[in-house]
Structure formats: structure tokens, C-alpha cells
């Protein structure tokens, strides 16, 4: 009995307290380092290679590195940062959904939030080609929110049941996919091609103007989720236990669902449906720091950031100069992982 397995964090002024696994700070630091390294490496690779050290210098604005400023600051850095943020958003959305459905297999793309967001976004790309892309996050959020509300209401049968939430989500995914297909079939071919890249999930050509809206969404909803981590822990135990612990079940569940939708919607709007990140990241994080959400959520966020950053890197290098969307890479890695999880849980 040398060390306690838990750390408690209680800020003096704020009415908050977090209880995290003792491993969490080390894991977080390691993951942050990994994310940073993959970011630098991703920026350094490409048609015009930049040495990693120069990348670091350029980003930090050190003297003597202006040769690379254009490539790094204008072309590659925003894209790499978008990949990081998208990974964070999707991973935390996945962690929330797995918590509130109490199902380790729930993820935004499985239960239909992503498909709602993509339907609205594809409709915008195909039907309103002239409109500014700045509206895309809001539209995708609206789509995701609409899908989430529809799922919640349709699954409501004297209270919301986690299993019905998932199955209704799958049904709704089929419906929205059909409508998306309708756009793909009748749209003008160039718009459709663009929409398809987006549907597969890609951070190709993302610039600062895509980064700022995404960042602002994350800055609001990531802290909010962290504040709700304790309620998420309670919900994870089951509705009746959560009620017994004094949690207002339906209210916190709706609020958490809103956070998940906002995070997934903003990410999907920026990079399209990068699949299986919301599934993989929380699982890997849980293996590292255990199930307590106060530690799990930030770990999952950094894990998701690493996954998308690396997937983007692999997608760019694998068939260079042709680029594979990072969504294809995450799906190829994520789906077998998912099936393996299923296999393990079935035994």
C-alpha cells in the first residue's frame, strides 16, 4: 500500500473536483508529446520536404527560417492543426456517446449523428455551390443536432433506452444515407466529386479560415464536457444508480448528447466523416487510464488527435503524389479493431 491509485484535484475557487487515475498525468504528457511530434513530422513531409528542426523553428518564429515560412504557415500547418482538432472533437464525442449509451461499441458514425451532419453538408455543397464554406460547420451542427433529436425522440418509449438509441440511430443512418445518395446521384459531377472527398473524411486543403471556427467550437464544448465528467461517470453506472447518486438523469443525458453533437458536428463540418476515431480513441484511452471520465476524456482527446494526424500522414505518403483521404485510413484500421472488440466482448 505505498501509493494511492487515485489523484484528486480540487480547485479552491471553483465548485469542481476531479478524481483521476494516478497514471493519467504521465500518459497525457506522453500523448501530447506524440501528437506534437506527429504534427511536426506531418508538416515536414510532402512534395517540398522541410527538415523537422526547421519546421519547429518556423512555427516558433525563430530567426533564420523565413525560407520555409510560406510552405509551413500557409500550406501545411493549418491542415495539420485541423487534423489534431478534428481528432479531439471526434474522440471526445465518441467517449461521451459510449458513456451515455453504456455501450462500448457506440460511436458518432454508428449511431447516426455523423450521417445527419453529412447529409446537410453535402446538400449545401451540391445544392448551394456558391455559398461560403464558413457556413458549413453551422449547417453540419444543425444536421447532427436534428439527427440526434430525432434519434432521441424516436427511441423514447417510457424513457430512453441505450439499446434503442443505437438501433434507431442505425435506422436513421440508412435514411439519411439514402438522401445523401440522392444528392450524389443528381448533383453536378464536380460538386459530387468534392462532396465524395468530404464524405470519406479528408483534411485536404484546409486553411486558417477552417481552423478558427472549429477551434471556437472546441473551446466551448471541451471544457463543458470536462465539467460534466462526474455526471458521465454516474450515468455510466446505469440510470437507477445515477438517480440514486443524485444525478438528474434525463437532463444530464440531454446536455451530454448536445456536447457530443456539437463536437462531432463541428469536426464533421470541417473534415467530413473521418470514421472510427470516435470509437478507437476512447477504447485505447480506457486501456491506458481506466474508466473514470475525468481522466478518460482528455486522454481520449489527445489519442484522437494522434490518430487523425498519423492517418493524414500515412494517407499523404502511401501513394504519393496521389492522396488518400485520412478517413479511408482510419476506416481500414478502425473497422478491424472494432470487429475485434466485438469478438472479444462476445466470448
Amino acid at each position: 500500500m505505498s501509493t494511492k491509485p487515485w489523484l484528486s484535484i480540487r480547485p479552491h475557487r471553483l465548485p469542481l473536483s476531479f478524481r483521476i487515475d494516478r497514471r493519467t498525468p504521465i500518459v497525457l504528457a506522453a500523448l501530447a508529446l506524440m501528437a506534437l511530434l506527429s504534427l511536426v513530422f506531418n508538416v515536414s513531409q510532402g512534395d517540398y520536404p522541410v527538415p523537422p528542426l526547421e519546421v519547429a523553428k518556423t512555427i516558433l518564429g525563430m530567426p533564420g527560417s523565413s525560407d520555409y515560412a510560406f510552405v509551413v504557415h500557409t500550406l501545411r500547418l493549418p491542415r495539420a492543426l485541423v487534423a489534431l482538432l478534428v481528432g479531439m472533437g471526434l474522440a471526445v464525442a465518441g467517449a461521451i456517446l459510449q458513456g451515455i449509451t453504456r455501450n462500448p461499441l457506440a460511436a458518432p458514425e454508428i449511431i447516426g449523428i455523423n450521417s445527419g451532419a453529412s447529409l446537410v453538408a453535402v446538400a449545401m455543397i451540391v445544392l448551394l455551390p456558391g455559398i461560403s464554406t464558413a457556413w458549413l460547420p453551422l449547417a453540419a451542427f444543425a444536421g447532427g443536432l436534428g439527427a440526434a433529436i430525432a434519434i432521441y425522440l424516436l427511441a423514447w418509449n417510457q424513457g430512453s433506452s441505450p439499446i434503442r438509441l443505437i438501433l434507431v440511430g442505425i435506422g436513421l443512418t440508412a435514411l439519411t444515407t439514402a438522401l445523401t445518395n440522392l444528392m450524389v446521384t443528381f448533383g453536378e459531377i464536380n460538386a459530387v466529386s468534392q462532396a465524395l472527398v468530404w464524405l470519406t473524411g479528408s483534411v485536404y486543403g484546409r486553411s486558417w479560415e477552417h481552423l478558427w471556427p472549429l477551434l471556437s467550437w472546441l473551446l466551448v464544448f471541451l471544457p463543458l464536457t470536462l465539467v460534466l465528467a462526474r455526471d458521465l461517470d454516474a450515468l455510466h453506472l446505469g440510470d437507477s444508480l445515477a438517480q440514486g447518486l443524485g444525478s438528474r438523469v434525463e437532463w444530464t443525458r440531454s446536455l451530454l448528447l448536445l456536447c457530443a453533437v456539437a463536437l462531432a458536428g463541428a469536426s464533421v463540418a470541417t473534415a467530413g466523416t473521418v470514421g472510427f476515431v470516435g470509437l478507437m480513441a476512447p477504447h485505447l484511452a480506457r486501456q491506458l487510464v481506466g474508466p473514470s471520465h475525468a481522466g478518460l476524456l482528455p486522454t481520449a482527446a489527445l489519442m484522437g488527435a494522434c490518430i487523425v494526424e498519423l492517418a493524414d500522414l500515412v494517407g499523404r505518403l502511401l501513394f504519393a503524389p496521389i492522396e488518400l483521404p485520412c478517413g479511408v485510413i482510419t476506416a481500414v484500421v478502425g473497422a478491424p479493431y472494432f470487429l475485434w472488440l466485438l469478438y472479444r466482448s462476445g466470448r
Partner: protein
């Protein structure tokens, strides 16, 4: 003794009724066939249609009937039957009300295989490739469904299928992004469509569908037993392993050829078996013939709607069936899952 006697009497009263129903359904199917030949983008008088079929003279209208509408109507009937039977078999095998070839990712496997061959130009979409793709995804779902003591719960099987379909679809999109021309060629097919098929492309694949349908009828008694559960079926002397392999082969044959012909059309395989089971009960000797005919009827009607909603353009029929079928799936999920 008394039990079996009362059962046989019960069947005596039921069998003529069910036969009558089957004849009735066949009549409806014939009407659907006629209507779908009669109606279309061009207005063609019924007499002309009649002449086109029996006194062909080579005029444009006759050509439309012979080369566009008739093949299409036949295609709807066979593909509808194939999908419905494949759905009925998967539901029986997995003992899962929500199972169907499209929900378990079998259609997506066939579609990905087809897209790959079209992309690599090895052939113009060979049906055997579709079989291969369907077989691989069927095996995956089977492997997932057969593990553990009692297999997967319905929920997990459906989730596994939707994950598999997601993977296969994103691989397919990955291929299509490389080549806009391929995308333009096949995007209509991709959503599931009966358009643009002539007899020459349908005829080579029809034998596979017919063989699959016949095979399902041969297996119908075994499927009834199997749908009672593996233990019961084994106790009644069924060699379940062989029956499962044979049934899976039939599903691959039916789903693969349906996708090769029309692209992935969803929800026919889910909805039809439920309607049929509601009407005729749990005996596969009746479920399968009814499913064949009702599948044909349903897809004919869906195709008619798809052609007439925004005349003279048309919607891919797969979108039509999804728009009707997905709400049905949601209804099933709501009513079947009590917890």
C-alpha cells in the same frame, strides 16, 4: 397422438387458404408486371404495347417496350424475389429480426468488388466478382455471429454489420475519388437502380438467381428447423453445419447476383420477410414462396414510383426503398427492443 391429429387437421384447413393466397399474390405480381410495362417516361398506348409484345414491327415505340420496359419489369421481379429470399434466410439463420443482406454488409461487399473490377478495367463487372465480395462479407458476419455460446445478440450483429458496411463503403469511396469518370459511370448504379439494363446483360445472371431461389426452396424444411434454434434443430436430427453452409451459399448467390444487376438495393430483404411472416407464420415452406412473390411485387411498385415521381427523370429505386424501409427498421427497433 391427439396432438398430431389436431395439428394435421389444422394444416388441412390452412393449406388451401395459403395456396389461394399464393395464387392471389401471383395475380397481383402479374398486374404489377403489366402496369410497369404500360407506364413510363414516354406515353405509349396499351394497344401499341400489346402489338410490341406479339406483333413486333421495329418502330421506336415497340423498341422502347421490347428493349427498355420489358427487361426492366422482369429485372424488378427477379431482383425483388432474390433480395426478399436472401433476407428471409438471413433472418432465419441468425434468428435475428433485424438481419438482412444490406444491414449485415453483404450487399456492400458485392458492391465494393464490382467497383474495384470496373476501376481496374479487368471486366465490366463480372457477376463472379460480386459473388466473391458477397462471400467475404458473409463469412465475416458469420464468424462474428457464430462465436460464443449463443452467438451474437441481435444488437451486436446489427452493429457489426453496419461497421462492416461502413468500412466497405469508405473503401469504395476511396477508389471512386481517384477516378471521376468511373464515378460518373456508376453513381446511379451505386444508389441501386433498375435503369439501363437490356436483356443481353440480364440473361447471363438470371440462371444464378433461379438456382438460388430453387436452392432456397429445397432448404425450406431445414431452415424452419434451424430457425427454432441450433440446439433444437440438432436434437431433431438436423446436420446444422451443412445446412448453414448451404443456406449461406444461397444468400451469397442471391445477394451477389442482385447487386451485380442493380447495385445495392436496401431494405427489400428486411421488410418483405416481416410482412410475409405476419401473414403466413413461421413455416419456411410457405415463407419462401410468399417472400419471392411479394419481393417481386414490392420492387416493381417501388420502381414504378421511382420512375413516376419526377417524370421524365427518375430516382434510383434503392433510394425509394430506403426511404420506405428505414422507418420500418426504426419501427421494428422500437417495438422489438423492450429494454
Amino acid at each position: 397422438m391427439t396432438h398430431s391429429l389436431s395439428k394435421s387437421r389444422f394444416q388441412l384447413t390452412r393449406t388451401p387458404l395459403l395456396l389461394l393466397g399464393l395464387v392471389l399474390c401471383t395475380g397481383i405480381l402479374a398486374v404489377c408486371l403489366m402496369v410497369s410495362v404500360l407506364l413510363g417516361a414516354a406515353d405509349i398506348a396499351p394497344q401499341t404495347v400489346w402489338q410490341a409484345l406479339f406483333q413486333f414491327d421495329g418502330s421506336t415505340e415497340h423498341l422502347i417496350i421490347r428493349t427498355v420496359r420489358l427487361p426492366r419489369a422482369i429485372l424488378a421481379v427477379f431482383v425483388g424475389a432474390a433480395l426478399a429470399v436472401a433476407g428471409a434466410i438471413t433472418q432465419g439463420l441468425t434468428r435475428n429480426a433485424l438481419a438482412a443482406p444490406d444491414i449485415l454488409g453483404i450487399n456492400a461487399g458485392a458492391a465494393l468488388a464490382m467497383v474495384l473490377t470496373i476501376y481496374f478495367k479487368t471486366s465490366n463487372g463480372n457477376v463472379w466478382v460480386a459473388f466473391g465480395g458477397a462471400a467475404i462479407s458473409t463469412l465475416t458476419v458469420y464468424w462474428l455471429g457464430s462465436m460464443g455460446r449463443s452467438g451474437l445478440t441481435p444488437l451486436k450483429l446489427v452493429i457489426a454489420g453496419s461497421a462492416l458496411a461502413y468500412l466497405l463503403n469508405s473503401l469504395m469511396y476511396g477508389v471512386l475519388i481517384f477516378n471521376q469518370r468511373t464515378l460518373d459511370e456508376i453513381r446511379f448504379w451505386l444508389a441501386g437502380s433498375l435503369a439501363g439494363q437490356d436483356m443481353a446483360s440480364i440473361l447471363p445472371i438470371l440462371p444464378y438467381i433461379v438456382a438460388g431461389l430453387a436452392g432456397s426452396l429445397v432448404l425450406s424444411r431445414q431452415l424452419t428447423l434451424l430457425s427454432l434454434g441450433e440446439d433444437v434443430a440438432q436434437g431433431l436430427g438436423l446436420r446444422t453445419a451443412w445446412v448453414k453452409v448451404a443456406a449461406a451459399a444461397v444468400v451469397v448467390l442471391l445477394a451477389g447476383s442482385a447487386v451485380a444487376l442493380t447495385g445495392p438495393i436496401g431494405f427489400v430483404g428486411l421488410v418483405v420477410p416481416h410482412m410475409v411472416r405476419f401473414a403466413v407464420g413461421v413455416d419456411y415452406c410457405w415463407i419462401l414462396p410468399y417472400a419471392m412473390i411479394s419481393g417481386g411485387i414490392l420492387l416493381s411498385i417501388a420502381d414504378l414510383a421511382a420512375r413516376l415521381v419526377i417524370r421524365p427523370q427518375e430516382i434510383p429505386v434503392g433510394i425509394m426503398t430506403s426511404l420506405v424501409g428505414a422507418p420500418f427498421f426504426i419501427y421494428l427497433a422500437r417495438s422489438r427492443i423492450k429494454r
